[in-house]
């Protein structure tokens, strides 16, 4: 177990190190002169020189890279060019919107998808199953930002039950939760579809197992067979996928926050693109990557604890 753990941790760290190199290369090497990207081609030479000096773009690449890594390790991410404030504080302020949004979407997705998947497996190859599969097919095909717009049309424009966008701030907790409901619903659509499919196929696998047949033969009620015997084991792959989805939820937040004008990390990325604020973009991307890698690592560990088989393969 310890060997598996340390191996997975080492692999994650190597991936993370490579990821920093890739992000650094894309942001600071690929465009040639980052100062020119940030200020535009019509910037005056002295303003360009001042910006280069301010962000250290005039230093050798390796120095710049190491300084960035040093900053990441000490949470000293430098200052945003557009906002003038510390990038770490900027991201921290926005996470209080994005994290609850992601958490709401993931809990909603799990609450809806698992019963749907169980139901589809129970009604295998019957109309109930086809209905769920048809729904998941639509869920996968519908862009989540369009689903968000449709929700706004229905529940904000037509019925005015929810705000069309915006965020009041956590000093008004009820209004804030209210403002996050439509965004969380739109963010969860694709995830519900994927999780329901995974639950269905995992359930179909476990329902074929001998112990399920034994439980049925013993006369256990169908509800007990489905939920106590089959679902418990089917949850192993479902947990894995739910964990993987958590990473994608955070990334999907970029578009959904833009649809609902929520001041989260996603909106920060969007604004930073328009402001050409490379310092912010670089750090947000790497923080998201760290988040995804950490979640993947935790999922692998949970998996190894629940199911001893992958330990041997790894």
């Amino acid at each position: 177990m310890l060997e598996f753990l340390s191996r997975r941790l080492a692999a994650t760290l190597v991936t993370l190190a490579l990821a920093t190199v890739v992000v650094f290369a894309v942001v600071e090497v690929l465009p040639g002169d980052p100062a020119l990207v940030m200020l535009g081609t019509d910037a005056r030479p002295d303003t360009l020189a001042a910006l280069r000096a301010k962000y250290g773009f005039d230093q050798p690449l390796i120095t710049r890279y190491l300084q960035w890594i040093g900053g990441l390790l000490t949470f000293n991410l430098g200052n945003s060019h557009a906002y003038g404030t510390s990038v770490a504080k900027l991201i921290g302020d926005r996470l209080v919107v994005t994290l609850p949004l992601g958490a709401m979407a993931l809990s909603w997705a799990t609450l809806v998808a698992i019963p749907l998947g169980v139901f589809a497996a129970w009604k295998h190859r019957r109309p109930g199953d086809w209905g769920v599969m048809g729904f998941t097919q639509i869920g996968i095909s519908m862009p989540n930002f369009w689903f968000g717009i449709v929700l706004v049309l229905a529940f904000a424009v037509t019925w005015q039950w929810f705000p069309a966008g915006g965020f009041p701030g956590w000093q008004e907790p009820l209004k804030s939760v209210h403002a996050l409901i439509l965004p969380a619903l739109s963010l969860s659509l694709g995830e519900i579809a994927i999780l329901a499919r995974v639950t269905r196929s995992a359930m179909l696998d476990t329902l074929r197992e001998d112990y399920v047949r034994t439980a049925r033969a013993k006369g256990a009620p169908e509800r007990v067979v489905l939920f106590r015997h089959a679902l418990r084991n089917a949850l192993i792959p479902v947990t894995t996928v739910a964990g993987l989805i958590a990473g994608f939820l955070v990334a999907g937040a970029v578009i959904i926050e833009s649809v609902f004008r929520l001041p989260g990390v996603g909106q920060l990325v969007y604004d930073s693109i328009n402001n050409r604020d490379l310092v912010v973009i670089k750090n947000v991307v790497i923080l998201f990557t760290i988040l995804v890698l950490t979640v993947n690592l935790l999922v692998d560990l949970a998996y190894a604890l629940l199911d001893p088989r992958p330990r041997v393969r790894a």
Binding site: P31, Q137, S141, V250, V292
Partner: protein, 280 residues
């Protein structure tokens, strides 16, 4: 092939997918030659009009015909999707086939690199690339293509590896054929169905990605019509002209649904045992 046709005739999902795809491609082709109205003639007196006989889907905030713009938008989606998938397919298949034929460090390096790319949230990297290189259809294609490479590389490697252990390939090796010849003559033709199915699914994913990028303003730039961009504009006028926010989204959803159903159908018809990667 006859059995394929017979089974296709019974597979409803495949048929729905095929019809939707024909509609999608047909619309794009027709729009090359003809649209009900010119797509970029501004008419401020006829802006935000509801649907009528002259404008079946109404007009947008600049008085342009929405139906015509959705028709031409299909061209944008297909162009971006096709090129992105073609680049991903060409490079990915070459890398995957190489890794399967060669093994050893090539295989190891390829697997690690694709793990690395999968570690990034795809949307973010696409945003990163387009924000550094500038927002344009070409850069959107590039960003989407990069994520298609590891998908195809993994699928090809997996399928090709199982081919290399087959007897007829061992026989070809024993007869002195080289790895390149065997890959081209025996491995690739035998895994083509896997690649066709994956390409269909990736085409759907690419259309969704293009819509997302152009919704954020990072895809095709105006005046080129793109469905994502139309949704962004429609959202600004959601209280004045709510139906504007319906049509482009419906177009995206139907196109993607068609490709997904076709892909799933093809998988059932070509080989029911196939397992696919689905990376959003």
């Amino acid at each position: 092939m006859n059995t394929f046709r017979a089974r296709a005739a019974r597979h409803v999902g495949f048929q729905i997918g095929a019809v939707l795809l024909l509609l999608f491609v047909g619309t794009a082709l027709v729009s090359v030659l003809w649209t009900p109205h010119p797509i970029d003639t501004l008419n401020m007196r006829a802006k935000l009009m509801p649907s009528s006989t002259a404008y079946p889907l109404g007009t947008d905030h600049l008085g342009r015909d929405v139906l015509s713009r959705i028709m031409v938008g299909a061209q944008t989606s297909i162009t971006v999707g096709l090129i992105a998938v073609a680049i991903g397919l060409t490079i990915g298949v070459a890398l995957g086939a190489w890794a399967a034929a060669r093994g050893g460090w090539v295989d190891e390096a390829l697997s690690r690199t694709s793990d690395l790319i999968f570690a990034f949230p795809a949307v973010l990297i696409a945003i990163l690339i387009t924000s550094v290189l500038g927002a344009s259809a070409q850069n959107a294609i590039l960003a989407i293509a990069i994520f298609n490479i590891p998908v195809f590389a993994r699928v090809t490697r997996g399928a090709a590896l199982s081919m290399w252990s087959r007897d007829f390939i061992r026989a070809a090796t024993a007869m002195g054929q080289g790895p390149v010849g065997i890959t081209l003559r025996h491995v690739l033709p035998n895994i083509a169905s896997v690649l066709i199915v994956q390409a269909t699914i990736q085409f759907a994913v690419a259309i969704l990605a293009e819509a997302g990028l152009s919704y954020l303003g990072l895809g095709a730039q105006p005046p080129v019509p793109s469905w994502g961009r139309m949704l962004r504009d429609a959202q600004t006028y959601i209280f004045q002209a709510p139906e504007l926010a319906i049509w482009p989204g419906l177009a995206i959803a139907l196109a993607v649904l068609g490709l997904n159903m076709l892909g799933d159908g093809l998988r059932d018809l070509l080989d029911p045992r196939l397992r696919l990667l689905r990376v959003g």
